[in-house]
Symmetry: C2
Amino acid sequence: MVDISMIRAAATRLIGHARLTPMLQSPFLDRIAGRRVYVKAECLQHTGSFKYRGAWAAVSALDPAIRTRGVLAFSSGNHAQGIALAASQHQVPAVIVMPSDAPAVKIENTRALGAEVVLYDREREDRDAIAAPLAEARGLTLIKPYDDPEVIAGQGSTGLEIAFQARCERIRNADVAICSGGGGLATGVALALEADAPDLRVRTAEPAGFDDFARSLASGQRERNPRMGGSVCDAILTPAPGMLTLPVISRLGGPGLVVTDEEAMRAMAAAFSRLRLVLEPGGAVALAAALYHPDEFQGDAVICIATGGNVDSAVFAEAISRFGDGS
Amino acid sequence: MVDISMIRAAATRLIGHARLTPMLQSPFLDRIAGRRVYVKAECLQHTGSFKYRGAWAAVSALDPAIRTRGVLAFSSGNHAQGIALAASQHQVPAVIVMPSDAPAVKIENTRALGAEVVLYDREREDRDAIAAPLAEARGLTLIKPYDDPEVIAGQGSTGLEIAFQARCERIRNADVAICSGGGGLATGVALALEADAPDLRVRTAEPAGFDDFARSLASGQRERNPRMGGSVCDAILTPAPGMLTLPVISRLGGPGLVVTDEEAMRAMAAAFSRLRLVLEPGGAVALAAALYHPDEFQGDAVICIATGGNVDSAVFAEAISRFGDGS
């Protein structure tokens, strides 16, 4: 499993590669939420999402003799782009298995970053069953999007930054809301905060209908989602919490947060007008929880991780046209 | 006039107030431009533009006994918001004279930040003639948007950051393209770079039809714009270069850059899809020059200041709908 020393080692390897992303705020957002709202802008990370951190950490951790044969990933898009760029920076090939309904921009960008893309049907096919024989045939190393200790360690570097930035802002006893699919980021951040900022507590945030973490945290066992598609929050639709992630978040996190697709789109409009940030729907879920479900939080501040900003222009235009300034 | 010691003093006062904004890049933008492109994201500054720096610097430099009576500014919107927030943070009143055709979002935000807004007709009325009697009647101190030494000193703090960030990125002999209205930012940055990074050269960037700096730099005298409205780049439409700014930029800057409104909108789409940043048209002019006029530059890198991100949602939706990923 992952521990804080793995996270610190990954963060050290990431120096000079991952960006230290800013934590932004606006008096207008504070007014909506009724408390101070900080947005950790991982949409400004390389490839437009935090996934680059875990991807780079995992690729850099491979034995060079194994890495040189290449890596394989399955992803709805952000892990794909992270792996594609990290592989390219290590000068090794990357094959990415992506759902055919992933946003066009994510598929295009993954190819443009030099990866070979294999598409599959998210509703009918099992991505693991497609990925495994490919890995075997070419000697590729499979890098899972969240159930991989090195990936979780890389995502945890975000938590080390938050712990430092929260001290600079004199934030205490705040929740850290995190848009969650398989829970790799929430797990890495939870372990980082346990070590460096134990008064900050992780909260998973998910779209309604795909609230596997919220239900699993409530029931105490691993709950699955009934569907695998149908939400605009494509980046964070996973079948169930990860095997490595749920135990950590059960131990360290608070109750799961759930928002509607419409609230996610409204939060995109708020981030557009108040922070001048481009968020994708799945990357706006945590901010939506902070802005529109204030009763789910305690304390005078909340930190939201804006996990990604890779969004088709039509979806973004709809969000800002429908929801004004998001208030 | 302004010198480097004033800029360093302003930068010191701004610590803990202005954000140190990131300098972002993307391999996709590098491909369009044919060289490395760095975007200094002042759209992430408080109030969504670099103007907060100069506003806070000028308000903080006032004698407290004079400051307490309040400040007055005339502005198409970004200086207005900067002054409104800086005055509010100093707990003094602010009156802002704004053109009636300024984007609604800028007028609303200026009011929401606690300022009193007075509207005027940009084509028919002289904003100086409106502002002066107001200042006299209430004992307000007029803070001009660019022809004010303390404002220029505050904007210069951006240049100190760029000098440091360029060293971190090992950038040498690059141009620094700056969206320019009256030239306050370009002047402050030019003086900062002269001291801290003399191999970086300032280039003003303007929309076609409002290229007073480009023409003034070419002719050697102060040229005026024939019109005062009619470009989507509202933030940087000024009658002529400033009296304090043109001499500095003539001495330290390269030839002026000029782009079309359509190129500015295309650069907004590029920043949306490749950097996940929201730019306003006037804040995208420098990036547009770097991306679509590469022959105007030399060297293997260019730094563009993205000066602001306060844009009505309809204009932004049009930019990203029409221009895809801006390539």
